[in-house]
Structure formats: C-alpha cells, structure tokens
Amino acid sequence: MSAAITSTVKARVPSAPPAIQAENPWLEAARMFMRNKSAVVGLLVLLAVVIGSVLMPYIYPTDPFEIAAAPMTPPFIEPDVWLGTDYLGRDVLNMLLFGGRVTLLVGAVAALLSVTIGVTLGALAGFYEGHWFSSLLSRITEFFQVLPALLFAMVVTSLFSPTLVTVTIAIGIVSWTATARLTRAEFLRLRNIDYVRAERAIGAKNGRIIWQVILPNALPPLIVSATLAIGTAILFEAGLSFLGLSDPNQMSWGLMIGSSRAYVLTNWWAVTFPGLAIFILVLAISLIGDGLNDAFNPKLRER
C-alpha cells in the first residue's frame, strides 16, 4: 500500500532526477532498526514470549488453577514444579505460561482499541482544525485526559463485573489521549505540505486525503506510539489484576502477584517471577519502540 502511494504521489509532483531518487523509506527504516542491537534483542524476546504463550498450552496442557504439589514448594528443587508452587500449591511455571496469553491478549487488543480511537479522533481534530468539529474533539480529548485513568478503569471493571472484555475496553477507553494528541500534531504539521495541496488541487475528497495521503506519512511516530501503547496497556492490565479488579478466573501475571501478595515474605518466588516476566516483556517492547523511533528519525536520534 505504502509503496503504491509513494509512487502515485511522486508521479504527480515534479520529482527529482531519477539518479537521486530516494529508496523506499520503510526499507530504510527497517534496515536502521536491524542495526540497533537492543531493538533486535527486544524483538526476539517479544517473539519468544508470543510464540511461547501461543504454543505452550498445547505442550503443557494442565490447568494452571489446579493444585500441582505441596503448597509453597521453593523453586529449583522439584523438577515437576521447577519454579515452585504458590500458597495454594499451584505450579508457578504453569501459571506463568498461561498468564502470558491473557497479558499479551489484553495488552494488544486494548492498545489496538486505544490507538484506533486516538488516531481517528486525532486525525479528524488535526485535519479540521479551526472548524467547530475539531474544537469539540479537542474538548473530548481534554475530558479524557482530566479523567483519572486508573480510578475510572477501576470503577468500570468493578461495577460491570470484571471479565477480559470489560478490562480490555476499560483500558482502551482511558489510554487513547496521548495517541490522539500526537496524531493531531502530526496532522497539523502535514496538512499543508506540497502533495496534500496537490491532491486538493485535483479535487480529491477529504476522506481520501486524510486516510490515504496524510496518514501514511504520519505513520512513523504513530507506530512508535502504538508500540509503547502496548507496553502501557500491559502494565495497566497488570495493575488492575494485581488489585483484584480483573477477571479472577483467568490466570494473568498481575493476578499471580496480587493473589500471592499476602505471602510475599515466605513465598517470594510466586511474586518475583511473574513480575520479572512483565518487566522483561515491557522492556522488550520499549526497546522495540525506541529502536523504531531511532530508525524513523535518524537525524533526531538521541545519542
């Protein structure tokens, strides 16, 4: 899609002599990304977690809520329960593997939701700047920015019976303001550049301009933002399930930490390992996001 647009746009604009024609910016960015060691490590870790979470339940099908061995078995002692058990006797490793799915799923879908809302509202707000419609959208964005995110999510999930769906929606609807503001800023910046004016000159409709001309060019910072949004959503979900406000019948890493909290001093492994897992996952995603940021903006890259 992007290649087609770039070439279409280039065809309508007096282009530079072919000899100096730039390479596809996406490939360029991808190459820059691959050169960033920490970003690549992050990507590999993420892939490992995703694949592990998807495949593991088929290799290791025991119900994580089942009692596997004596309660509070320490880690690295029993080969059956390599990471030990919690206060109920549940297998920590098993819970870790199953918990990853919920954590990733909720994180990804909630991030998708928040990015979708944010990009849509931000794009419209930026494009129609000056129009009352844009002001309205800005007001709405401000409203959600003023709304205390965690508190509101707590209210929503606890009142509407916490299921994965309510949790995902709750996280999605409070997290989109950052993306919206970023998108709006990008759109403000891009809406008067040359090829947009050219599109308008040939009578292209607003819809086409927004979604097929400006947006693809605004993508780089948005992609970075979306990546970081996944990390934030994962942390948000962990916080909610730690507080006991997520679906208590779905194993997640936050739930592991929260349910073993009362035994943290004698059962530290049931708390340390899931926390470490969250940390590593979000770290990986942040490194990817950072890498993408650098890859798309080589000039502004911080040293």
């Binding site: 007001r139 401000e142 409203f143 920015q145 003023v146 709304l147 205390p148 995110a149 965690l150 508190l151 509101f152 707590m154 209210v155 929503v156 606890s158 009142l159 509407f160 019976s161 990390g231 942390l235 962990a238 916080g239 730690f242 507080l243 406000l245 936050g254 930490i257 909290r261 943290v264 001093l265 530290w268 708390v271 340390t272 926390g275 969250i278 940390f279 979000v282 770290l283 942040s286 490194l287 950072d290 911080e302 040293r303």
Partner: protein
C-alpha cells in the same frame, strides 16, 4: 490573564462532566452498597435493607439522585460515605495529607535525582553514565510499580531490615503531631522511592535529551565562544532552557499521580487517598468514590494551569497555543 481565566472555566466544565459521567455510570451499574453493609454484619433482615436503601436515596430515579448530588456538590457538600457514615469531605481531608506527603517526596526525589543524572549524562553522551541512564530510564518505566515495591519490601523486611515496610507510623507509637514526624519520614522512604523510581527514569531521559539539544544550540555555542565557563554554561544557560520540557512532564504527571499512588499505597498499606479510593470502589461506597474522582479531576485541571503559568514564567517568549 484572560486566557488563564478561560482555561480555569474550561477546567471547571470538564470537572463537572467527569462527575456527571461517573455518577451515571456508578448508579447504572449492578452492585449495591447495602449488600456490602449486610455482609459486614453477617446478615441483615430485609426490612433493614429496605430502610437503608430509602435512607441513601437509592430507590429514587437516577436523574433525581443526580440532581440532588450536583446541588450539594456546588455548595461544597460531598455527601456522606455510605460505609462510614461520615462526611466524604472529612474522609478525603484525613487521607489527603499522607498522599500529598508521599507524592511530593517522590516527585522531588525523582526530579532531583533524575535531572542530575540526565545533566551529568549529557556532558558525556557516549560515556557509561549515559548508557546507564538509557537502560535505567527504560527499566524504570517497564517494571510494574507494585512489583518494584514488593521487591523492596522483601529486601527490607527479610534481607536487610533497617527500614519499616508498611503503614505510615509504628503501630505502637502514640506520638501525635510534630512529634510523630521522624517516624513518619522513616516510613515514607520506601514507598516514596518506589514511586520515584518510575518518574526518575523519565526525568533522567528527558533532561538528558533536552540538555544535549540545548548544548548543541547556537545560543550555547555563542556563549562558549564568548568565553563563559563550562560550569556556568551548564547550570545557568543550558539548564534553564532544558528544564522546560521536564516541567511540562512534571505538571502533567502530578495530575495523574493518583494512579501510581493507588498501587504504591496498596502495597505499602499507606493510609492515603489512593487506598481509600480503591477500598471505596470495592465497598460500593459511591459518595466517597465520586468525591475522590471529583477531587482528582480538580487537581489535574489546577496542575495543568499551574504548569502553563510556570512555563510562561520560565520562558516568556513562549506562547502556548
């Protein structure tokens, strides 16, 4: 000046909108404060339940309840907690001080340490301190704050028991007022550090980036050419400008501080507003939840306005859109 007033009014409307939305949401949802109270009692007769419901006005239609509530709020009356039967405003005031203490200490800690790290790192962008700052900043953001807190608890409760790991004061201490201050400060150390850890990461990264930018700017190059000492350049010229984005973030974060506070307060059993919010949500103590939401929104609006002011003061050339 006019734009400031306009901003405040705008904020007021927003706050009101927050209250209305949440009121409707809470009352539309299933769940019942009377049931919680019945649970505490180990049982309750039906007559009593009905009585309580009538007393709390829970049997009235929603618009009526909303109208009554708004009417009272405008007069400064946040209603009575269903659970404690005490005025919500006094409950909030009681819990406000501990949260403020926690937040102020952690923000100060984060700001000072973070900025210092960032500034030092900016002097040698390829040095080990700079690398450390990068890793530290990403790590600080990635570790869930409640987990960091619990790790610190394990460290200071089992491994190296030199600091208290919970609550704001020692259970046995009966000191009140200023006499209790040393005990309170001691108890503040761990929770404040946990909360600060997250923000510290951001500030160090931000201030480093900002300083690098400013240090490379024409303004600074001119100063160097004029022979101004490196130290002066760093701390008087560069820092002043570099601190602007940090202030923005500071202001924005302060408003959202209640979220991090909820988690830290829960982990450390800190008797603050965050924990009260959490407990009240669980107890379906609607008036208290609404009161805290209202308060938090006001805080965000005020902080936004203040940040704007400070920003303009530090750099009068800047005009906010």
């Amino acid at each position: 000046m006019k734009s400031l007033i306009f901003k405040l009014l705008n904020g007021l409307v927003l706050v009101l909108a927050v209250v209305v939305l949440n009121f409707v949401l809470i009352h539309a949802a299933p769940g019942d404060p009377v049931e919680t109270i019945a649970g505490e009692s180990g049982g309750m007769s039906e007559e009593l339940r009905t009585q309580l419901r009538t007393q709390y006005g829970l049997d009235q239609p929603l618009p009526v309840q909303l109208g009554r509530y708004l009417g009272k709020v405008v007069q400064g009356d946040l209603g009575y907690s269903y659970y404690f039967n005490m005025p919500v405003s006094s409950l909030i005031l009681e819990r406000l001080a501990p949260t403020l203490l926690l937040v102020v200490v952690s923000v100060l800690l984060a700001f000072s340490v973070g900025t210092w790290l960032g500034v030092r790192a900016s002097r040698n962008p390829n040095g080990w301190l700079s690398q450390f700052t990068t890793v530290f900043s990403i790590a600080g953001f990635s570790a869930p704050v409640f987990w960091t807190g619990m790790m610190l608890i394990i460290l200071f409760a089992s491994v190296w028991p030199v600091l208290p790991v919970g609550d704001m004061t020692d259970s046995a201490s009966t000191a009140t007022g200023w006499a209790a201050l040393p005990d309170v400060l001691l108890h503040t150390i761990l929770p404040a550090t946990t909360l600060a850890f997250v923000y510290m990461a951001q500030y160090s990264r931000l201030s480093r980036a900002s300083m690098v930018d400013v240090l490379g700017s024409d303004y600074v190059r001119t100063a160097r050419a004029k022979g101004v000492s490196e130290r002066n350049i760093l701390y008087r010229h560069a820092l002043r400008n570099a601190v602007l984005p940090v202030i923005t973030v500071l202001g924005l974060q302060f408003g959202n501080v209640l979220a991090g506070a909820v988690l830290v307060e829960t982990v450390f059993n800190w008797p603050g507003l965050g924990r009260l919010a959490f407990d009240s949500v669980l107890r379906r103590d609607y008036p208290t939840v609404l009161g805290i939401l209202l308060f938090s929104s006001i805080l965000v609006v005020v902080m936004n306005v203040l940040t704007d002011l400070v920003y303009r003061m530090v750099d009068p050339r800047i005009k906010t859109s």
